[in-house]
Symmetry: C2
Subunit: 368 residues, 2 copies
């Protein structure tokens, strides 16, 4: 049910071209998942998400369990029926949100305890409960609950969290009951390559459908992230999809694809879009700048998205006038841009010219 077929491996990099099959359809890899934190990709309708070229979207266990509540989602037909997205959905486990929202949280061997950012209630999240929530949501891919730590951290702290993440991964696997959901483990280990490799090996010995690299993109230098990714992927099963969580900028996606990553998610295209930053092959454009005031050109000449039917001048006006349509259109453009970058990556891998593709993109972006 969760077949992953690698159709081609790039001749000169670690990039892989594949298809990950789920009960709600195939995901072409390498692929980027738009983030639908609360059951919606912010500001974008389901039809518009599909039109960007996205195959799979991400939902957040933490947010949906708190609001509207996973039992409510279940009664509304599950996350697919509720949101109207009938393609593949991956749900994270809540581990990263508990960490990143900086809620008062306490981790024991049994569970993480945290305070709801909505009403302040104390909530206990065990690995088993995280799986139970994700089974109620009905996603295609369930992520294990992991223990994420802020970096940099003492090695002792990183080792402890890594070891716990492995034990929790096993508990998640044991707790899972649905046949129609894939389970992905999450590699932890901070910025220590040895720990990362050890964690990857231990998780690889368990029967997961895919493997994620977690706890990155939390403030470390991109080179550090690439180093860890490069050390981790060789320790993961070749025949399973690999997902780099919460990453990143377009260049981060390509650098990580070159290191063997297949899947990504990030809020950047929508968050930056809401803030007036548009991604283009010539680098990011700040739409609020006065230089765009009477610019009749679209953001990108060859972009098929609905934002690019308009002039930069109009988009600037929408942001200046605080019109919702500005964030809407720019979110759509940025999501489309990310999908186009990934489509280009897939094409390049098939033709064994991925390194050239990355070099071309980096030149356009003004990256060394």
């Amino acid at each position: 049910m969760f077949d992953f077929q690698l159709s081609h491996r790039d001749a000169t990099t670690g990039a892989r071209r594949g298809v990950f099959v789920t009960p709600h359809g195939p995901v072409q890899t390498p692929g980027f998942m738009p983030v639908g934190t609360q059951g919606t990709v912010k500001g974008v309708t389901i039809d518009q998400v599909a039109a960007t070229g996205a195959h799979m979207i991400l939902g957040n266990t933490y947010h949906l369990a708190l609001r509207p509540g996973h039992e409510t989602v279940r009664r509304l037909g599950g996350l697919h029926a509720m949101s109207g997205w009938d393609g593949p959905i991956l749900t994270d486990s809540g581990g990263f949100q508990v960490f990143s929202l900086d809620a008062i949280n306490k981790v024991t061997e049994q569970q993480v305890t945290f305070r709801s950012h909505i009403d302040g209630a104390m909530i206990e999240l065990t690995p088993e409960y995280s799986v139970e929530i994700q089974e109620a949501l009905g996603s295609d891919v369930v992520m294990v609950l992991d223990h994420v730590v802020a970096l940099p951290a003492e090695k002792e702290v990183v080792v402890d969290a890594m070891a716990r993440s492995i034990r929790w991964a096993k508990r998640c696997l044991d707790a899972a009951t649905r046949d129609d959901q894939a389970r992905f483990a999450i590699v932890q280990g901070g910025l220590d390559t040895e720990l990362r490799m050890q964690c990857a090996r231990e998780l690889s010995a368990m029967d997961f459908n895919g493997y994620a690299v977690g706890g990155l993109s939390v403030g470390e230098a991109p080179s550090e992230m690439y180093r860890i990714t490069e050390a981790t992927t060789p320790e993961l099963p070749v025949e399973k999809p690999r997902y780099l969580m919460g990453v990143g900028r377009p260049i981060d996606l390509l650098e990580s694809v070159a290191r063997g990553i297949d899947l990504f998610d990030c809020v950047m295209p929508t968050r930056n879009g809401r803030n007036g930053f548009g991604f283009t092959d010539a680098g990011p454009i700040k739409l609020r700048n006065a230089v765009h005031r009477e610019d009749t050109r679209p953001l990108e000449e060859d972009c098929p998205c609905i934002a690019c039917r308009h002039s930069r001048g109009y988009l600037r006006h929408l942001f200046n006038a605080k019109e919702m349509l500005g964030p809407i259109l720019l979110s759509i453009h940025n999501l489309t841009y990310y999908q186009r970058v990934m489509q280009g990556a897939r094409d390049a891998i098939e033709q064994d010219r991925f390194a050239e593709y990355v070099a071309d993109k980096k030149a356009g972006w003004g990256e060394a």
Copy 2:
């Protein structure tokens, strides 16, 4: 170029069925225009506006002249090209905005002087300048600058503003230079039927392409608005379109169609949509209410809009979670609802059953 063809008049009411032809296409009447104050219908893409069934949209001279500036709009190709809406557009004159925004304003025979709500700059708006702005915007229908007064007001004040509105209408007509723009006059006269009738007669003697009833829906009782409309329309040329400005609730539209009005505009469908109020044949629904939490029904069973592909429970969640998609979807639903009410009105008029149609709708809405 601005042909108005009345195809049928309802047998028992004053309702008229017609088509108003503009250089950007026909407008079926009676018709409702979504409001695109700042060059966008708030939260709704142009494709989505078209999908609601709207024929003509409205832009605001006051807002667009201040931001991005009408010369900027002109350089971006005019309001059609800039917004991407290639159907008919009507622009108001700025008179109502100066009145309603309660900017510090002073009216003389020559002009109205007001303070920009954006940067506080003092701006002088003459009838001629309002036309110049609207010519730069390139709308299909240009509204004359009128002198709107708050109601209730002393008769002397109302008479003075009415007389000035007539003189300003003439100045607008004299100032207009574009052949591809229709000019609509605006009847003023407060809540005094004699003044309204006099104003309508004087404006009817001038060569306008259409006539609006202005200065209503400013806090007076609906019955007062109906009374004024009923007294005014018989004094207007039968063969010209009639537009009731800034109105209103669905019931106000139908009651006014029965009194001979052809066109409407109002922010209510989008504003109420943004605030979580959905219009339905069973009356308005407040989506935030807890009763909708696990309601799997759409807002309206037979509505073709994209909001009605979702459950009420999901829409409620979006509003509770402050997700942009809530306002987006409910704005689309409400605009679709208004268009469906007007489509129903057009069908009913053609079949000489408009009174029955209004009675049915009112029964559903719980109106006496």
